[in-house]
C-alpha cells in the first residue's frame, strides 16, 4: 500500500470548456523515476501541477500517500511541502545563489546552525560550491538550472517533479543534471516524475515511462517494454521518432 505514492483515479482537468487532462488511472511508485513523454500540449505539465497540488482536479481524485484529494479540496501545507518541482526555466529569485538555495528551508522556518553546511554541501553536489555569493541573475543557463535543482534537493522531498529540466541546455549541463538526478534517486530514494521531450533521456533515466497524447495516457509501462515492445502503435511511432497526432 505504501509503495504507491500517488494514485490518480478518473482525474480530469478542464479550463473553461476545454478539457486538457483525462487520466483514468495512474500510479507513481515509491522510489521510481517515472518518465512522462509526449508532444507539447498533451497535458504533461498540467499533470505535474496536479501532482504538486498547485491546482486541483476538475473531477476525480488524486491520492497522495494516505489521503485522497478531490476537486477544490485544499491540501495541508505539511503535505504540500513533501513535494517540490523544478521547472523548465530556473525561475530563481533575484537574490544571491546562497539565498536561493536556502529559500525553501526559510519557508519552513529552519534556522538551525547546520543549515550553513547543508547549503554549502548541496551547492557542491551540483558542482557550484564556489559561487554562493554570486547574484542569481548573473549565472549562465546551465548554472542557473543547477541552482534550481539544488534549491529543490536541499528540501529532501519525498517526491521531486521535473518539468523538462534540461530543455534548452547544452549537452555538458544535460549530462551533469542527469547524473545529479540519478544519484539523488539512487542514494536518497527520492521518487521522481520527469516530463521530457527527449525520448532518449527518458530511456536513460526512467524506470517506467508513460506516453501522453491529447490529455490521456496512451501507454504506460516499464522502460524496456515501452521502448522495445510497445503495445500501442502510436507509442511505436513515437519511440521511432515519428510525429504523433
Amino acid at each position: 500500500m505504501n509503495d504507491v505514492v500517488y494514485e490518480l483515479q478518473q482525474v480530469t482537468k478542464a479550463y473553461g470548456s476545454r478539457v486538457v487532462l483525462k487520466v483514468e488511472g495512474l500510479e507513481v511508485r515509491r522510489g521510481e523515476i517515472l518518465g512522462l513523454v509526449g508532444p507539447s500540449g498533451a497535458g504533461k505539465s498540467t499533470l505535474l501541477r496536479l501532482l504538486n497540488f498547485l491546482e486541483s482536479p476538475s473531477s476525480g481524485t488524486v491520492r497522495f500517500l494516505d489521503r485522497a484529494y478531490g476537486p477544490g479540496q485544499g491540501v495541508p501545507i505539511a503535505e504540500r511541502r513533501r513535494v517540490t518541482m523544478v521547472f523548465q526555466r530556473p525561475l530563481l529569485l533575484n537574490r544571491s545563489v546562497w539565498a536561493n538555495v536556502l529559500y525553501g528551508l526559510r519557508l519552513r522556518g529552519e534556522r538551525r546552525t547546520e543549515t550553513r553546511a547543508l547549503v554549502q554541501s548541496t551547492l557542491e553536489k551540483v558542482g557550484l560550491g564556489g559561487i554562493s555569493n554570486q547574484r542569481a541573475r548573473t549565472l549562465s543557463g546551465g548554472e542557473a538550472q543547477r541552482v534550481a535543482l539544488a534549491r529543490a534537493m536541499i528540501l529532501r522531498p519525498d517526491v521531486l517533479l521535473l518539468d523538462e529540466p534540461t530543455a534548452n541546455l547544452d549537452p555538458y549541463n544535460v549530462g551533469l543534471i542527469e547524473d545529479i538526478v540519478r544519484t539523488l534517486n539512487r542514494e536518497q530514494g527520492t521518487t521522481m516524475v520527469m516530463v521530457t521531450h527527449n525520448v532518449f533521456q527518458a530511456r536513460r533515466l526512467a524506470h517506467r515511462v508513460a506516453l501522453m497524447l491529447e490529455g490521456q495516457i496512451a501507454e504506460e509501462g516499464d522502460v524496456q517494454g515501452f521502448f522495445e515492445s510497445p503495445r500501442d502503435p502510436r507509442t511505436a511511432a513515437f519511440v521511432r521518432g515519428e510525429m504523433v497526432y
Binding site: 504538486n52 498547485l54 521547472f87 526555466r89 525561475l91 529569485l93 533575484n94 525553501g104 519557508l107
Partner: protein, 224 residues
C-alpha cells in the same frame, strides 16, 4: 535666510515634512497591500477598481481638497458625526487626510504594476517550494521591491509639492497649518520675494533629491 535657519522658516519646513510624511506613511500602509491584492488576485469588479485607481493617480489635488473640505466641514457627512478620529478643518490632521487621498492611489497603482511585472511562473515556483499564501505574496513583493520603492517616492513627490488641497483644507494659518507651498503663494502675493524664493529653493531641493533617488532606483537593482 536659509543659512541663518530663520525659526519661522524652519517651522514651515518642518510642518511640510510632518504633514506629507504622515500622509505618506498612511498611504504606504493602505497602498502597498491594496496594490499587492490588485496585482495578484482576480475578482469580479477588479477592472473597475483599477479604473478608479488610475483616475485617483491623476486626480487634481485641488478637487481632492474640495471634497475633503465638504466632507470635514461641520455640516458635512464626516464633520457632523463629531467622532474623535475625524480631523477638523484647518488643522494639520485635515491636511494629512487630504494628502493621503492624493498619494495612496499612486502608491497602490505603481505597486500593482510592479507586482504584475513579476513573472507569473515565479509565483508557481515559489508555491512549489512550499510557500503559503502569505509567503508567496511576500516573495513577489520582494521581487518587485524596486517598483514598490519607486511607488513610495512617487507618492511623496506628489504631496510635498501639492498646494491646492492643503490650501483649501488647511487654510495657510501662520504657526499652525502653513506649509512650504502655501507660504510661497502668500509670500509672492505680499511681495516678500526673499521669503518666497528661500521657500521655493528648499522645496525644489526636496523634490530634486526624491526624484534623483527615484530615477536611480528605477534604473537598477540595489546591489548590482
Amino acid at each position: 535666510m536659509i543659512l541663518h535657519l530663520d525659526p519661522d522658516l524652519l517651522e514651515i519646513v518642518l510642518m511640510s515634512l510632518r504633514v506629507s510624511g504622515i500622509a505618506l506613511a498612511l498611504s504606504t500602509l493602505i497602498g502597498i497591500p491594496l496594490g499587492v491584492v490588485m496585482g495578484l488576485s482576480r475578482f469580479v469588479g477588479r477592472k473597475l477598481v483599477i479604473a478608479l485607481l488610475y483616475t485617483g493617480m491623476g486626480f487634481p489635488p485641488v478637487v481632492v481638497g474640495l471634497f475633503v473640505y465638504l466632507l470635514l466641514s461641520r455640516s458635512g457627512p464626516l464633520g457632523s458625526l463629531g467622532w474623535a478620529w475625524v480631523p477638523s478643518l484647518f488643522t494639520p490632521g485635515a491636511m494629512v487626510f487630504a494628502q493621503t487621498i492624493i498619494a495612496f492611489p499612486l502608491v497602490a497603482g505603481f505597486t500593482m504594476a510592479a507586482v504584475m511585472g513579476v513573472d507569473p511562473a515565479l509565483r508557481q515556483q515559489v508555491q512549489a517550494l512550499g510557500a503559503t499564501r502569505w509567503q508567496t505574496a511576500a516573495a513577489i513583493l520582494s521581487e518587485a521591491r524596486i517598483g514598490v520603492i519607486v511607488s513610495i517616492i512617487a507618492g511623496f513627490g506628489s504631496i510635498i509639492s501639492e498646494v491646492g488641497a492643503v490650501m483649501l483644507v488647511g487654510g495657510n494659518i501662520q504657526h499652525s497649518t502653513r506649509v512650504l507651498t502655501t507660504a510661497i503663494v502668500l509670500g509672492t502675493r505680499q511681495g516678500e520675494f526673499d521669503l518666497a524664493i528661500a521657500l521655493g529653493t528648499i522645496l525644489l531641493a526636496i523634490s530634486f533629491v526624491t526624484n534623483v533617488i527615484m530615477l536611480r532606483l528605477q534604473g537598477r537593482t540595489f546591489d548590482e
